[in-house]
C-alpha cells in the first residue's frame, strides 16, 4: 500500500524530486526532495528511487512523540517538533530532509511524484 517504485521503467529524470520540493517546500531544489533518485552505472545500468514507505522508524526515534500515524501516513506535528533531527538519522533511506531554517520534512503521501512521473515508475496504490 502507498507509494511504490518500479525500476524497470525509471529513466532517472528526477521530475519526481523537482515536483516534490516545489510542492512541499515551495522551492526549486531537488536536493530537498523527500525521495532520492540515483543510477548505478556503468553496471548494471539501472535507476533506483529511495522512497518513504511510511515504515515509522522516524516516529520511533522521535523523543518528543511529534511524529504520529494518521491514516496511512506518518506526519510531523510542528507544534511538538523541536528540530532535534533524530528522525533524520533514523530514516533507513535518508529521505527525511532539513529545510534551510532547520525544520525536518518527510513524505506526506501527497502523490505529486506519482502524478508527474512520465514513466509511471512511481505509483500510488
Amino acid at each position: 500500500m502507498g507509494l511504490e517504485f518500479n525500476n524497470e521503467t525509471c529513466s532517472g529524470c528526477k521530475a519526481c524530486e523537482l515536483v516534490c520540493s516545489l510542492q512541499n517546500l515551495k522551492k526549486v531544489n531537488p536536493s530537498k526532495a523527500l525521495l532520492n533518485v540515483y543510477g548505478k552505472f556503468p553496471v548494471p545500468g539501472k535507476y533506483f528511487v529511495d522512497i518513504c514507505d511510511q515504515c515509522g522508524a522516524c516516529a520511533e526515534a522521535c523523543p518528543e512523540d511529534a511524529i504520529r500515524l494518521k491514516g496511512q501516513t506518518y506526519r510531523i506535528d510542528r507544534k511538538k517538533c523541536t528540530n532535534c533531527l533524530d528522525c533524520v538519522g533514523a530514516c533507513p533511506v535518508n529521505v527525511i530532509k532539513v529545510d534551510d531554517d532547520g525544520t525536518p520534512y518527510k513524505c506526506i503521501n501527497c502523490k505529486q511524484c506519482a502524478e508527474v512521473c512520465p514513466r509511471d515508475a512511481l505509483t500510488f496504490s
Binding site: S11, Y38, D100
Partner: protein, 629 residues
C-alpha cells in the same frame, strides 16, 4: 531580485589559480537571456581577437539558461562554448544529463575558464567551495574510468564532466563526456579543455534557484508534463528515440552511406531503433527532468568483448554505421563505446573514419601509414582507426586534425570527399536531394551541424508532396515507400531555413532541450508561460526569443569574420562530392546540387539575412539588431 537565475558568474584563471565570483551581469540577462545568448556575447567580448584555439587565453565557457534546472520538461541542457579548433571560428556544443543543473544549484549561471593549469588538474565545485586540484591519478584514463573513480573518491552525488585520452592529446574532434554516455560532442570542445590541462570538473549544487512564482511554476510545470503525455509521439517516438528515424532517412535517400558516396543502404533494418531494442537495450536513460528519454543504455556483444554503452543514437548509427558500411548493431554500439571511452565525437569520428577508409581504398594512405589492412564495414578496422587517432600514431596524427585539414595534408583531390563545412564534419543527413538541409549545413555558424537547422522533412515534402510542418514523429509514423523521389525544389527553401536556424538554437538560449518541440510537437506557448513564472517577465516566443536568436546569428557571423582573415562566401560551400557526383543508387539516384543552385541559394539567403554578397552582415543589419561590433 533576479528570478530564474542562480545569480553568479564564476571565473577561474587556471594559470594563476585565482577564483572569482561576481554577480551575473544584468546586461547579459536583459539582452541575451541565457545559454547560447550568453556564450555568443561573452566569447565575442572577452576572447582576445584571433587568439589560437589552444592558446591559454581562449575562453572555455559554460552557460545555463533561465529555465535550466527548473520544474519543466528537459531543463537539463548544459551549453559549452569556445573558439573551435576544428573551424577556427565560433564553437558551441551542448550536453544533456545532470551536470549543468548542479552548477546552477551551486550558484553559477556562467563559468568562464581562462589560462592553463601548470599540471593535469580537475576543478572541484561543491556549492561555494571551488578548488583547482591535481588530477594526476585521472590523467591518461578513459571517460568512464574517470567518472567511476571520481564518484568513488568524491561521492555519488557529484556530477562529473571529463575528457578522454583524445582530449588530452588535442584531437580536433575530442568531446566532453558525462553521466556514462552523455556528451558535448562537437567542435573539439574537449580538446580545448585538454589544452588547459583540465581533465574533469566535478560539481555538486544543493541550493535553491529563486523563481518569481513557485506556485505558478508548479501548476504550469505539471500542465506541461501532462501536455507531453498527450502527444502521440510520447508513446510513439520515445521507445526508439532518435534512432527511430533511421528507416525513414534510408527510405527517402538521406542516410549517409560509404562516406556520403550514396544515401541508401540495404541493411537499415539491421541498424535501426528496433534493432537496438531487440539486441542491446537494458534501460531508457533520460536527462534531467526529461519525459521522453532518448537515451537507450545497453550491452553490446562482439568478438572484441562485452561493453555497456549508451546509444547508439541516430547520428552514431548513420555515421559510424552505414557511412562506414558497418551493418551490425552490436558492432556499431562497440564503436560508439570506443569513441565514448576515448572521448571522441561520434559524428566527426564516423566521418573521419569513412574518409580514411576511402583514402585507403584509393591508395592515398598506405598500409604502413595505416598500421593494418583496413576494410569497409570491418569492426577491427574502424576500432583501429579510432585508436590511432586518439594515440596520434601514424596517419592517426593527421586524421586527428579532422577531414578538412587531413585532406590538405593527404592531397590528391581528397578534399573532394572530405565531408565538412568550415572544418566541421557533416552529420547524419545526406542532402543532395535536400536543398534546404544543404543550405542549413552550409550556413551554420559552427559548421556542418544539424543542431542549427533541420528542414529535411520540408525538403522531402517539396519533392513528394506532404506536410512541411510535420514533427519528426509525424514523419516516422507516416512511413515512406519511395522507389524514386523527384527532384526537390530549391526555390523556396530560404524562409524555412531561416526559421529553423532561429528556432532550433532558441532552446539553447532558454537552457532546455528542443526535442519536446521538434520530435513530439510541444507547443511554444508552454515555454512563454514557464518563462513568466520563472522570471516574472513576459516573453513572446516569436517576437522576442526568435528575434534574439537572429541577433545571435549575426553576432556569431561577425565573430567568424573577426577570427578568420579571409572569411566569407567560400566558407559556406559544401564539399565537391555533393556538387559534382550524382547519387549513384537508391531513391535519389542521379540527383545532385549544381554550383549554380548553390550560388543562387546563397544569394537569396544573404539578401534575406541582410548580408552582403560575401556573406558579411551589413552595417544596417548590425544597427537594426543593436550590435556594436
Amino acid at each position: 531580485m533576479l528570478y530564474g537565475y542562480a545569480g553568479q558568474t564564476l571565473r577561474i584563471d587556471l594559470s594563476t589559480g585565482v577564483v572569482e565570483k561576481e554577480p551575473l551581469k544584468q546586461e547579459w540577462v536583459d539582452d541575451f537571456i541565457g545559454g547560447r545568448g550568453f556564450t555568443a556575447k561573452i566569447l565575442y567580448d572577452e576572447n582576445p581577437p584571433q587568439v589560437e584555439p589552444f592558446d591559454p587565453e581562449n575562453r572555455f565557457i559554460i552557460a545555463m539558461g533561465p529555465l535550466s534546472g527548473l520544474f519543466l520538461p528537459a531543463s537539463g541542457k548544459t551549453h559549452f562554448c569556445t573558439k573551435s579548433p576544428a573551424t577556427g571560428g565560433y564553437g558551441d556544443s551542448n550536453m544533456g544529463g545532470h551536470f549543468g543543473v548542479n552548477m546552477k544549484y551551486a550558484g553559477y549561471d556562467v563559468t568562464i575558464l581562462t589560462g592553463k593549469a601548470e599540471t593535469p588538474s580537475y576543478i572541484f565545485i561543491d556549492n561555494d567551495k571551488v578548488e583547482i586540484r591535481p588530477a594526476d591519478q585521472y590523467w591518461g584514463k578513459s571517460s568512464t574510468q574517470v567518472e567511476e573513480a571520481m564518484k568513488e573518491d568524491l561521492g555519488e552525488d557529484f556530477q562529473i564532466l571529463t575528457i578522454g585520452q583524445a582530449g588530452e592529446r588535442l584531437v580536433n574532434f575530442a568531446c566532453i563526456s558525462h553521466d556514462f554516455g552523455r556528451q558535448a560532442g562537437r567542435i573539439g570542445i574537449g580538446a580545448v579543455l585538454g589544452s588547459k590541462n583540465i581533465k574533469a570538473i566535478a560539481a555538486r549544487g544543493t541550493k535553491s534557484i529563486p523563481v518569481f512564482d513557485p506556485k505558478g511554476l508548479l501548476k504550469k510545470g505539471k500542465e506541461t508534463y501532462a501536455a507531453c503525455r498527450e502527444k502521440p509521439g510520447f508513446t510513439g517516438w520515445t521507445p526508439e528515440g532518435t534512432a527511430g528515424i533511421t528507416n525513414w532517412c534510408n527510405d527517402v535517400g538521406a542516410l549517409p552511406t560509404r562516406n556520403f558516396k550514396t544515401s541508401n543502404c540495404d541493411y537499415a533494418d539491421d541498424i535501426n531503433g528496433k534493432a537496438i531494442l531487440k539486441e542491446l537495450k537494458i534501460t531508457d536513460k533520460g536527462c534531467f527532468s526529461c519525459p521522453i528519454p532518448c537515451g537507450k543504455y545497453g550491452l553490446a556483444k562482439t568478438k572484441l568483448g562485452e561493453v555497456y554503452v549508451e546509444g547508439p543514437e541516430y547520428e552514431t548509427l548513420s555515421l559510424l554505421g552505414s557511412n562506414c558500411e558497418l551493418s551490425d548493431i552490436h558492432g556499431i554500439a562497440h564503436t560508439n563505446w570506443v569513441c565514448d571511452e576515448l572521448g571522441l565525437d561520434t559524428c566527426s569520428a564516423g566521418v573521419v573514419v569513412s574518409f580514411a577508409l576511402e583514402c585507403y581504398e584509393k591508395g592515398l594512405i598506405s598500409k604502413e601509414e595505416m598500421g593494418m589492412d583496413v576494410k569497409w564495414g570491418d569492426l577491427d578496422s574502424i576500432v583501429h582507426i579510432l585508436e590511432i587517432i586518439s594515440k596520434r600514431e601514424g596517419i592517426g596524427d593527421v586524421l586527428a586534425l579532422g577531414v578538412q585539414k587531413a585532406a590538405e595534408k593527404i592531397g590528391h583531390d581528397s578534399e573532394k570527399f572530405a565531408i565538412h563545412v568550415k572544418g566541421l564534419e557533416w552529420t547524419g543527413y545526406e542532402a543532395r536531394n535536400a536543398p534546404g538541409m544543404m543550405l542549413g549545413y552550409m550556413t551554420a555558424d559552427v559548421g556542418a551541424h544539424h543542431a542549427r537547422c533541420w528542414v529535411l522533412g520540408s525538403d522531402v515534402a517539396t519533392a513528394v508532396g506532404g506536410n512541411k510542418d510535420a514533427t519528426v514523429h509525424d514523419l516516422i509514423s507516416g512511413g515512406a515507400d519511395f522507389n524514386h523521389i523527384p527532384k526537390a525544389d530549391h526555390k523556396n527553401v530560404v524562409p524555412l531555413v531561416l526559421k529553423s536556424q532561429h528556432l532550433r538554437p532558441a532552446f539553447d538560449i532558454l537552457g532546455t532541450c528542443r526535442l519536446q518541440y521538434m520530435e513530439i510537437g510541444l507547443e511554444t506557448k508552454y515555454y512563454e508561460e514557464l518563462y513568466y513564472y520563472a522570471t516574472g517577465k513576459k516573453m513572446d516566443f516569436d517576437k522576442d526569443l526568435l528575434k534574439l536568436s537572429e541577433k545571435i546569428w549575426h553576432l556569431n557571423r561577425m565573430f567568424n569574420k573577426r577570427e578568420i582573415p579571409d572569411f566569407g562566401r567560400k566558407y559556406d560551400y559544401p564539399p565537391a562530392r555533393f556538387t559534382e557526383e550524382p547519387i549513384p543508387s537508391g531513391p535519389n539516384k542521379g540527383h545532385f546540387v549544381t554550383m549554380e543552385v548553390i550560388e543562387e541559394m546563397l544569394d537569396t539567403y544573404y539578401a534575406a539575412r541582410g548580408w552582403d554578397k560575401n556573406g558579411i552582415p551589413t552595417k544596417e543589419t548590425l544597427e537594426k539588431h543593436n550590435l556594436k561590433v
